[in-house]
Amino acid sequence: MTAATPDVGLSGLDSSPTETRWARFVRRFRRQRAAVAALTFIVVVTFCAVFAPWVAPQDPIEQDLSSSLAGPSWEHWLGADRLGRDVLSRLIFGARFSLLAAVQAVLVATVLGVPVGVLAGLARGWVDSAASTIADAVLSIPAIVLALAIIGVLQPNLTNAMIAIGIVYAPRLFRVVRSAAISVREETYIDAARASGVGTLTIARSHVIPNVLSPLVVQVSLALGFAVLAEAGVSFLGLGVQPPDASWGVMLGQSTAELEDHPILVLVPGAAIMLAVLAFNVLGDGLNDSLGREIRRE
């Protein structure tokens, strides 16, 4: 009994028993307008990234010094940079690098963090202690510092940068997955299943995985936002995507010199990064709300 709303028989007014889990999730998700907007935005950007050569009006690498630092015009919708390259096209192609890099990083983080997390959460004992201590140690080093350090000993290029970011993020995924596995393990219905003779592997398959999947999906969305941000930061410093390729971070880094006179060159990629991160975060929150009750219900 909580303070504000004593039990007065108002519960049970929500769902109908005939919905499948998927249908229920979709229904809940659709009600979150912000999350739906975020998802739409991400889909559009992904589309542009995948079909960049057809979507972008011009070649992003082609230089045209006569249009150097031109403002927005019919020819260059968002203007041109110092070397006369079309900003809009670079932005669209930049999406390719930024998104691809983010996916790479999250993949690395998932492969490193998730299986270990599930194992640690279920096995407990010294396996759990050891894995958790290692994760805590990695987490003790600031993310950017560790990423830079790893890039510093490998060569500065995109792949290495993404591996570094993936390594840095892995302990965070580890933690989330581990606590999900632990909470599943301690649910009394696991005891009930065991008591009725169900095997461990079946339990793992039908109970553990679905319950770990929900928080994991949420975290992956947030991780993508983090990875986009991290890639931008690293490329901004010149340690990620290498010219002439351009991600949004590179665009940002290359135009700081023009900050005072042509701020648009900085603001455009900056806004793109910000919107992408915002979209992933909002999507993650929306997923959390739509899936959240699923978890509790289970």
Binding site: A3, T5, P6, V8, L10, L13
Partner: protein, 336 residues
């Protein structure tokens, strides 16, 4: 307890036509509807009904503790000393809370702040309402702990709540509530969360303190046994309404409302092997109330007219019942 000094006289507190609503998926639903009753000085009133009937909400509403944005008081007055409490804002209510009217809640395990010592919290309440110095307040707090039966109060006063058992915490809550000697104590299921043996002790404690301090008690409970032991009068609630008001001595042997009779009949008998008599059916959902009498669908004595109009609470002498057949039915009760 029920038969010593004359209790009554004027009403200390009068609840008039109270209605409380909560917001749900179906919009604002009324969970307490048109509740009225008096509490007289020094008397013990039992507010009884099953879970979800609105009795706790009524108790909270008296002290203005219905929390927006999810709940609101939509109608009614609560008159204390000529003032309508529901018309007062937070600031004006505070000097009354804890001072004139105090409340003890159901969950002793979670109703004390775990981050501060027991003593600090009692002193805080004392100094809020009374002009006491810190040492005076502390001495009074130790005295209070002693009166509620906490052994070794000089030491216990500096304990954190997690060091006390459930029964002891409930005593501390009672001490806090009574620290400023209120005129009315509202006890919301004070013993439900406690072991049976401890229940009896706490009830005895309350009765003793009530005598000492000459205060009135509004006891909210679902337990008829507790009501029989401790109350002077009883207010029976069903589905958010008052369905019967009566003195304890008359209610038990001769109830006037079928719901009251059914509740009494459903009490497990003391003879082993006796079958249980649960009341068939369920309390109606707030958004799907039946036409006419809300208890109708479950009532043994229902007739056609019961469904046509919603019955009013009709008094007959000192008793009231919300049933059109109250005068005709001769309902069985228990003991005397």
């Amino acid at each position: 307890m029920n038969d010593q000094e004359p209790v009554g006289g004027d009403a200390l507190l009068r609840v008039e036509d109270l209605a409380v609503e909560f917001i749900t998926e179906h919009g604002w639903l009324r969970v307490v509807d048109g509740v009225s009753f008096d509490i007289r000085r020094r008397e013990t009133i039992g507010l009884i009904g099953e879970s979800g009937c609105g009795k706790s909400v009524t108790a909270l509403a008296i002290l203005g503790l219905i929390a927006p944005p999810s709940g609101r008081i939509s109608r009614g007055r609560v008159i204390l000393d000529g003032q309508d409490l529901l018309a007062l804002d937070e600031r004006e209510l505070r000097p009354i809370r804890g001072r004139k009217i105090a409340m003890v809640f159901q969950e002793p395990m979670t109703s004390i702040d775990p981050a501060f010592t027991v003593g600090k919290q009692i002193v805080e309440v004392l100094r809020r309402h009374l002009p006491l110095s810190r040492s005076q307040a502390r001495r009074r707090a130790i005295d209070l702990l002693d009166r509620v039966g906490i052994p070794d109060p000089h030491r216990r006063i500096d304990d954190y709540p997690h060091r006390l058992s459930g029964g002891q915490r409930q005593r501390v809550l009672i001490a806090m509530a009574l620290s400023c000697e209120p005129e009315l104590l509202i006890a919301d299921e004070p013993t439900t969360a406690l072991d049976v043996t401890v229940q009896a002790q706490v009830l005895d404690l309350l009765a003793g303190l009530q005598d000492e301090m000459g205060m009135a008690v509004l006891l909210v409970t679902h337990d008829l046994g507790v009501v029989a032991e401790t109350c002077d009068r009883v207010v029976v609630m069903y589905a958010g309404e008052v369905v019967e008001i009566s003195g304890v001595d008359e209610l038990f042997p001769r109830p006037r409302h079928p719901y009251t009779a059914a509740m009494l009949a459903s009490l497990p008998g003391l003879n082993p092997g006796e079958p249980l008599n649960p009341i068939p059916g369920l309390v109606p959902a707030r958004h799907a109330l039946p036409p006419g009498c809300w208890y109708g669908p479950r009532c043994e004595h229902v007739i056609q007219t019961c469904h046509s109009a919603h019955p009013a609470l009709v008094s007959s002498g000192t008793r009231s019942a919300r049933c059109i057949r109250a005068d005709d039915l001769d309902l069985p009760g228990v003991g005397s």
